[in-house]
């Protein structure tokens, strides 16, 4: 975009002192393009099929601490070493956060369901952005039946 703007600038402007830097840059870009053209014409490439590295199905890790999800190695009990206890707290919090994140991933809403939800949400959000007068009009439309809600006595059975 900068080059386009530069091209539109007049010669007089470009001759000014504070424009010297962009003039240099434009020149550089032009040179680059020309060089690229030359290279493209002269270069030749091997006509080989694309080499595909087969992705391994395994990850190898020789550490027990990752496999067994071991705890942090320094522990202190009943406030013997407050420094270590602080560290323990931090580590535990990190682990907890990781766990909840994973849980959330498993339980989170899928894309399709999300889209469905949002499509039903549209009315509500539209209401939020409507002006006050329109808002009341919208509310009348939507919440007409909800006003009739009354207390229902639960059956005793």
């Amino acid at each position: 975009m900068a080059t386009k703007q530069g091209a539109q600038l007049s010669k007089n402007v470009l001759q000014m002192k504070f424009m010297q830097r962009s003039v240099l840059r434009m020149e550089k870009e032009q040179n680059e393009e020309e060089r690229q053209k030359i290279i493209d014409d002269e270069h030749w490439a091997l006509d080989l099929p694309e080499y595909k590295t087969k992705e391994s199905d395994f990850l190898v890790n020789q550490s027990y601490s990752i496999c067994e999800e071991l705890q942090f190695g320094r522990q202190s009990f009943q406030g013997f070493n407050p420094e270590v206890e602080k560290l323990m707290k931090v580590q535990n919090a990190e682990k907890e956060a990781e766990k909840t994140e994973q849980k959330e991933k498993e339980e989170s809403v899928g894309d399709i369901e999300m889209a469905k939800r949002y499509s039903s949400l549209m009315g509500i959000i539209a209401k939020k952005f409507a002006k006050k007068r329109q808002h009341s009009a919208l509310a009348e439309d939507d919440e007409g039946p909800s006003k009739k809600r009354a207390f229902l006595k639960p059956s005793d059975s």
Binding site: S56, D57, F58, L59, V60, N61, Q62, S63, Y64, S65, I66, C67, E68, E69, L70, Q71, F72, G73, R74, Q75, S76, F77, Q78, G79, F80, N81, V84, L87
Partner: protein, 240 residues
């Protein structure tokens, strides 16, 4: 046939990818210690019990006494030598690990850390390759010590089997928690089978060490029972 999780496997046993895959739907399978990939087959290279954890993590659990360094593990080492800019640290592996004097929190070229020969160091393995000297550091990737560094002020260091060290740090093991309810103490466990304990009195320290050593083949209920007995005995002795 599914992989024999929880059963004994012997070096030379071979599993196929589908065999391991059949137990869960993880995209990638992580092979832990004792397993090796070889042309879409998985070979067992250590005798032990095949273990599995979600998602898709397999490893062989076997009895070890000699530590094999592997990257990212936290170990306890003893400084053996000071050679120029690095310390040679014994971490129980086949070779001594090197520790640069700059890999301590707040260390600069001018401000050298106060480390002497014979010091106990809690550190993390940065480099651990098969045929190379392991390298340890006492800072994390943010440059903080986060509990690593020289362990000072007394305490007692002893060696255990690697299994016991792992058992202590296993979230399912209640030994440290139960001991922690009964005694006020501090412990540092290295995955290399070294354990450092410090408590208020010698009697307590000895009791804790004995409890740890005795718990190797005990389950959680037995551990609870043992801790009860030990704390009673200690309180009786301290009164005397």
């Amino acid at each position: 046939m599914a992989a024999p999780i929880g059963n004994v496997v012997i070096p030379g046993d071979i599993f196929s990818f589908t065999q391991l895959k059949s137990t869960d739907d993880a995209k990638k399978i992580l092979l832990g210690p004792g397993l090796k990939e070889n042309d879409l087959e998985i070979k067992v290279i250590r005798p032990g019990i095949l273990r599995y954890r979600k998602p898709g993590v397999y490893w062989v659990d076997c009895h070890h006494k000699r530590y094999i360094p592997s990257k990212g593990e936290s170990v306890i080492g003893i400084v053996n030598q000071k050679v120029g800019d690095i310390f040679r640290v014994d971490i129980g592996g086949s070779e001594q690990a090197s520790l640069s004097y700059l890999s301590f929190e707040g260390a600069t070229k001018r401000n050298r850390p106060d480390v002497k020969v014979g010091d106990i160091i809690y550190a993390k393995l940065l480099v651990a390759n098969k045929d190379m000297e392991p390298e340890i550091v006492c800072i994390d990737s943010y440059g903080r010590s986060s509990g690593m560094g020289v362990i000072r002020n007394g305490g007692f260091l002893f060696h255990t089997s690697l299994n016991l060290a792992r058992k202590l740090l296993n979230p399912q093991c209640i030994l440290l928690k139960t001991l922690g309810n009964r005694f006020q103490f501090e412990i540092t466990v290295g995955i290399n089978g070294r354990v450092w304990v410090k408590a208020h009195s010698d009697i307590q320290t000895i009791a804790i060490v004995n409890a740890i050593v005795a718990s190797e083949y005990k389950d959680n209920d037995q551990i609870k029972e043992m801790c009860k007995r030990i704390s009673k005995a200690v309180s009786r002795m301290e009164v005397d």
